[in-house]
Symmetry: C2
Subunit: 452 residues, 2 copies
């Protein structure tokens, strides 16, 4: 192979510093997931194709990575068939497995498959990569991690309360200020559509409303009119275009707007329960806000809808989202299993922390001290000390070869190792602080104390 | 979908308890890898096919999972070609990516691709899944984790010394007694083949010798004769069939046997350096042994060869292995990059710990206390206490629905939650220990103390 090797587009190598930072975020998520009673599961990277296909719409089906059957996969495809076959038909014949596209469908499959072993309500979290054959672009990858916490088997709104607290806990621990947790409710959106006589246009209506941030009031109205929503309806929804105030004030406005819709009133009641309790219990750092334009994944969600945005000074969009879905496992034949869950956007959270310089320095300092190598005479003494240090959990290394001392110093510098041992004289160690240049002669006990 | 969903053969779902136990092993490995100065990297799950194909022999190529190109992958394959094409030719046309088969080739690719950013010697570890289209059987899966630590860019034998210590550290921390780290050297095997005049039959010779455990002395000799190794050679090699004694004694025997082979003598010298230093530095729990029949991956290794076996009371075979390879990155055009590495067999280590009951109980206890749910009147007070407990890092939950108390108790029992809160009376909590039945009335402070 003459040319320099590369990796498939849309995938990434992670360097030691990047892995350390990613693991820092993941370990904080794990910690809080478990504190809230969520338990980890893991599912296979590939599923049977029929588990995944047809679950994400036509576009989703197209973006699922299919795996070729192993062995002679053409064995059972007659040559004459091959002439006229199209690629979709061929795929069905030569591929039975596909890489998972998200963690939700595999979770639903898991719950149905293992229902007899699971103790419900089942609070699970899952942090694993997923794959999508999307066109790669800035911030969009073909392989990326999803970090999901869901609970299935209970309709209690306390779950929603708790998930807001969970978001707050994780982002507070990551040191992120200015995080906004936006909440809405599918029933409120349905109620509005009902009240304005556009129930049959719920999707068009919410898709347009969702764009308020981007295209403004006039743009949204124009789109709604184009979709056949009446002038009269637009007058009725006017309050939504200037939907400001406290959560309480917003709930009052919605109550007035939705007084004639049973479903709408139910939605307001749910929002009130969640917001009231979250407020009374208090959040550490995040701000809860009611955003009636929020509609993400509407086809999917049946109750609460969540979306989290990062601090305003970093233009990153959503760093998390979720909601309640009343029929998660129905696709696999298990009815009446309501679920609610949230997701954390690892890649975006990473970028936000990076931009705000919020990764603790200790995350990426690996080795604490490098013993310089002066050749065989001292190497054994060095390794003896290193063995002792490591038993005390002090990360230490010896430069493996008797290279030029200058080169060895540079190695410590480039790797960000703060101390080197320049000399071992009997039981004394000459320790040099690379940054300050300070030198100390220490016996082993004091050496250990200095580095602990 | 009427039938119960399933997963592809050879893959596994991991339950919460299984994930907790796997993560326990992985976190101990990580800890020691980093203590020894190894840094984590991660590479994509799939690589360009030409990165992987041809690197693992014909059998390996067959076992690599190939990914179908996305979109209309038949677009560029003329229909008339399809009639006469065989599956291997078609694979080249419709698949450009493949799931990684191990972590070594992606690591070599990583080193070459990022050589200008890497500070050598580069000590890296990598813990990620790999995929092989092997026939699934007991203990052999199509998706499994590899856990590798390698160092490239130094020929120093101190690396080998350190890797033996690393094995010992990890297994000692896992509480495993009776682990044997077996060591051999490719140069010793070559030397023996040279001395007995069978250099051209090195592979046949070592493959046969490697079976000594299984088929005994007579079986090995029979196989060697069949492969054309002479009677005379077998006489010379007789000492190997009764190769007992201390490491020192074995080294003496090898020195005598290999006195006429330069390569053999070099191998003995390397073994002596490694074994002497490991012995002088001391191991915590593991036993180092020189096993001259050890030949795993011979085509690959050029110096030291390692294999680790677990305690004798568990018949599990090898739980780790590794060795030195002098030309890791040559396949990608970067010459003279010597490496040495070891691998931990996660699945087998898991089974050994399970069989010996060595997983600490705390690994799988998630939630500490469950607040029973008596309906709306007390739920807010319960959630208030839970919020406080969680802020003190005490894992606590409320049963989300006001179900029958009996059902709620059973939920705690089945999930292994040790305590329930039966009642909240003002500032007093009635705590019940599920196992002993003991009840305590505690205020919040004492409650927190009790559970901390």
């Amino acid at each position: 192979m003459a040319s320099k090797p590369s990796i498939p587009k849309g995938t990434r190598d992670f360097s030691p510093a990047e892995v350390a930072k990613r693991n820092y975020i993941i370990s904080i998520m794990r910690h809080h997931f478990e504190k809230f009673g969520y338990q980890p599961i893991e599912t296979p990277s590939f599923e049977n194709s029929d588990t995944l296909m047809g679950k994400y719409g036509e576009e989703g089906d197209r973006l699922i990575f299919k795996i070729l059957n192993s062995g002679d996969y053409l064995d059972k495809v007659p040559a004459e068939q091959l002439q006229s076959i199209n690629y979709k038909q061929l795929t069905n014949k030569i591929s039975e497995k596909a890489l998972r596209y998200d963690l939700t469908v595999p979770f639903a499959r898991y719950v149905v498959q293992h229902q007899s072993e699971i103790e419900f309500p089942f609070k699970r979290y899952q942090i694993q990569p997923v794959w999508r054959a999307d066109r790669p672009q800035k911030g969009r990858f073909r392989e990326f991690y999803q970090c999901d916490a869901d609970v299935v088997g209970s309709k209690s709104l306390w779950q929603e309360v708790e998930l807001v607290q969970l978001y707050d806990s994780v982002f507070a621990d990551l040191g992120l200020h200015g995080v906004t947790i936006k909440i809405n409710n599918r029933k409120v959106l349905s109620g509005i559509a009902e009240v304005i006589g556009a129930s049959d246009k719920l999707i068009d209506f919410t898709v347009a409303l969702d764009k308020l941030d981007k295209i403004g009031e006039d743009g949204v109205k124009k789109e709604m009119l184009e979709k056949g929503i009446s002038d009269e309806a637009l007058v009725k929804v006017q309050p939504l275009f200037n939907f400001t105030g406290t959560i309480q004030e917003k709930l009052e406005k919605l109550t007035r707007l939705l007084s004639s819709s049973e479903e709408g009133k139910k939605g307001v009641e749910e929002l009130r329960f969640i917001c009231d309790n979250v407020t009374k219990l208090g959040l550490q750092k995040a701000i809860l806000d009611l955003d009636v334009t929020l509609a993400r994944g509407l086809n999917y969600y049946t109750g609460a809808i969540f979306e989290v945005t990062g601090p305003k000074e970093v233009a990153m969009g959503s760093i998390g989202g979720g909601g309640r879905y009343d029929d998660l496992t129905g696709i696999f034949g298990l009815k009446d299993m309501s679920g609610v869950g949230i997701s954390f956007g690892l890649d975006r959270i990473y970028l936000v922390l990076e931009e705000l310089n919020l990764f603790p320095e200790t995350v990426t300092t690996a080795t604490k001290v490098l013993f310089l190598n002066f050749g065989e005479s001292q190497t054994f003494e060095a390794m003896k000390a290193i063995t002792t240090l490591r038993n005390k959990n002090i990360k230490s290394e010896m430069y493996p070869d008797a290279a030029k001392i200058d080169k060895q110093f540079k190695h410590a510098e480039r790797r960000g190792i703060p101390f080197v041992v320049k000399e071992i004289d009997g039981s004394n160690f000459t320790l040099k602080d690379i940054q300050t240049g300070e030198q100390l002669q220490l016996n082993l006990d004091n050496f250990i104390k200095k580095l602990s």
